[in-house]
């Protein structure tokens, strides 16, 4: 029998207030319980992502030419030029992923402790800021092994941990070995009619080959070897002048400039007989008895402002007749070893 105005402990009835509150609370609790596992994923540590960072680093390094694309010419002793290098990439060009330029590879793996003064890349700051990116200071190890010789392994970064997990990716690439020396011969005195030896860099013609096999005097070192000199009745020829010219002068605004103006790299060095340097300013005559070697650093043509012309001539004038060839072509046929590719393996470890 129900007793009025007393708590009904045996009736199993709950007040409506309680039911409504309880229902709302329960629904909210279920919602939160299901979603909270998603909330906590944000707080994950970085361990899962190492492989992704390694993959991304390998793509930026091996499939991108870097920013600027000719960053291997930058002189890193100057802070402004160092800051101008935004991204390190080893590819020769934008459309050739996996084909690396040897100069870029050499410069990339050349990091030292005295990096700021010596003009090399600083490990790990430069690599983190220009290659790996991101706020977290990842530790890394990037190594390259030449598969043909499999001799030395170039590496940069900390040693790979033996214990513990790290992100890893292995990539296979080809490295372009640039061409070596171009050898030309002077002709004997009986046949020679011209006092100057002109070496022609026909950039337009050189660019007619796919970039991995291309000779690129603007961005690669140039070595010219002129030999077979003979004396004319006991008198050896003297070099009187060296000029670099572009043609035609009137239309393209080019001209001629004398060289040995620069004493720091990128510069042009002319060696006579393998031991004397050509110097037009001193009073010593530059006599050639055996051969002349011309070394032009990469980036020299850009430095003198001649990197936008299709044809560049380097004219070396003597005081005697030395040749009967109007122009020596610096081209694929005169190269001792044209550019070729060799395979390599690059491994990127990040932890």
């Amino acid at each position: 029998m129900r007793v009025p105005r007393k708590f009904d402990r045996e009736e199993g009835l709950l007040s409506l207030d309680f039911l409504i509150g309880f229902t709302i609370f329960l629904i909210a609790l279920i919602f939160v319980g299901v979603m909270i596992s998603g909330l906590l994923v944000h707080l994950q540590s970085r361990t899962i992502d190492y492989d992704a960072v390694a993959y991304r680093t390998s793509v930026v390094l091996l499939e991108d030419p870097g920013e600027p694309a000719n960053w291997q010419l930058a002189n890193l002793s100057y802070p402004a030029e160092r800051a101008n290098v935004k991204r390190l990439g080893l590819a020769i060009q934008k459309n050739y992923p996996g084909i690396l330029a040897e100069e870029k590879v050499d410069k990339f793996f050349n990091s030292s402790s005295g990096c700021l003064s010596e003009g090399t890349l600083c490990s790990p700051e430069d690599y983190r800021g220009k290659l790996i990116f991101g706020d977290y200071p990842y530790r890394f190890n990037i190594s390259l092994k030449n598969l043909d010789t499999s001799s030395t392994v170039k590496a940069v970064g900390d040693p790979v941990p033996l214990l513990g997990s790290y992100g890893y990716i292995k990539r296979i690439v080809k490295i372009q070995k640039p061409d070596s020396v171009h050898i030309f011969n002077v002709t004997s005195d009986n046949d020679s009619t011209i006092k100057s030896a002109s070496f022609r860099f026909n950039i337009t013609e050189l660019d007619d080959i796919p970039p991995p096999y291309r000779i690129d005097p603007l961005n690669q070192d140039v070595v010219i070897y002129l030999c077979n000199f003979s004396d004319n009745a006991g008198i050896w020829p003297n070099i009187t002048d060296i000029q670099i010219c572009t043609y035609p002068v009137a239309l393209t605004g080019g001209g001629c400039i004398g060289v040995d103006v620069y004493s720091d790299s990128p510069q042009m060095i002319v060696m006579i007989d393998g031991n004397k340097t050509y110097n037009s300013k001193d009073m010593v005559p530059d006599t050639v008895t055996k051969n002349v070697t011309i070394n032009i650093d990469r980036g020299f043509f850009s430095r003198i402002g001649y990197d936008r012309f299709g044809v560049i001539d380097l004219i070396m004038t003597f005081d005697q007749n030395v040749t009967n060839q109007e122009v020596y072509d610096y081209s694929y046929s005169t190269s001792a070893t044209p550019p070729e590719l060799y395979p390599a393996v690059v491994e990127v470890c990040v932890w």
Partner: protein, 174 residues
């Protein structure tokens, strides 16, 4: 003194506490997350390696008349052995730092091409036998320059003009 007043409140309190504890436990235990990442990472590494190897084999080392890439040479001169050695040499190359041996990847290759009537034909091109391992498939277009006679490996391919064929390689770890 123990009476039976306030039973409902007590039950309510116990039930609420129980619910909170169970929910908290479920929540914490489900945040040990997602291991499907592991499987995909292995696939990613194998696929990138296979694509890299095929890409580098498709690139001749020198330029000029007579220079051929490994893929072109292996297909034109019916040399699946050359393909086998070069490909496995590239993908199974040992780690740069000594301490671990070579990898144990194996492959199975097929070449697909279009015959004169327009249908796709295929020719096996060497490799191991695939059972049930976790595998990825990588492929590469191979440029075959025109030749005066047809290739013995691809008899129904009209190669009096330059043609493209598809080389498909299934790659797995033994």
């Amino acid at each position: 003194m123990v009476t039976d007043e306030g039973q409902l409140y007590t039950i309510e309190g116990i039930a609420a506490a129980f619910m909170i504890v169970v929910t908290a436990y479920l929540v914490i235990s489900t945040t040990s997350v997602l291991t499907q990442q592991d499987v995909h990472i292995i696939d990613l590494q194998m696929q990138q390696l296979g694509n890299d190897a095929l890409g580098m084999m498709d690139c001749p080392d020198t330029y000029g008349v007579g220079s051929q890439s490994v893929l072109e040479e292996a297909i034109s001169e019916t040399n699946p052995e050359l393909f086998n050695q070069t490909f496995l040499g590239l993908v199974n190359s040992p780690r740069n730092f000594a301490g671990s041996g070579s990898d144990r990847l194996n492959y199975s290759a097929v070449i697909y091409y279009r015959n004169p009537s327009g249908t796709i034909e295929h020719v096996p091109f060497g490799g191991g036998t695939y059972y049930r391992e976790n595998s990825v498939k990588v492929s590469r277009w191979v440029f075959l320059p025109k030749k005066s006679s047809s290739l013995p490996l691809l008899p129904n391919l009209t190669n009096s003009v330059n043609r493209s064929v598809l080389l498909e390689v299934q790659l797995w770890r033994e």
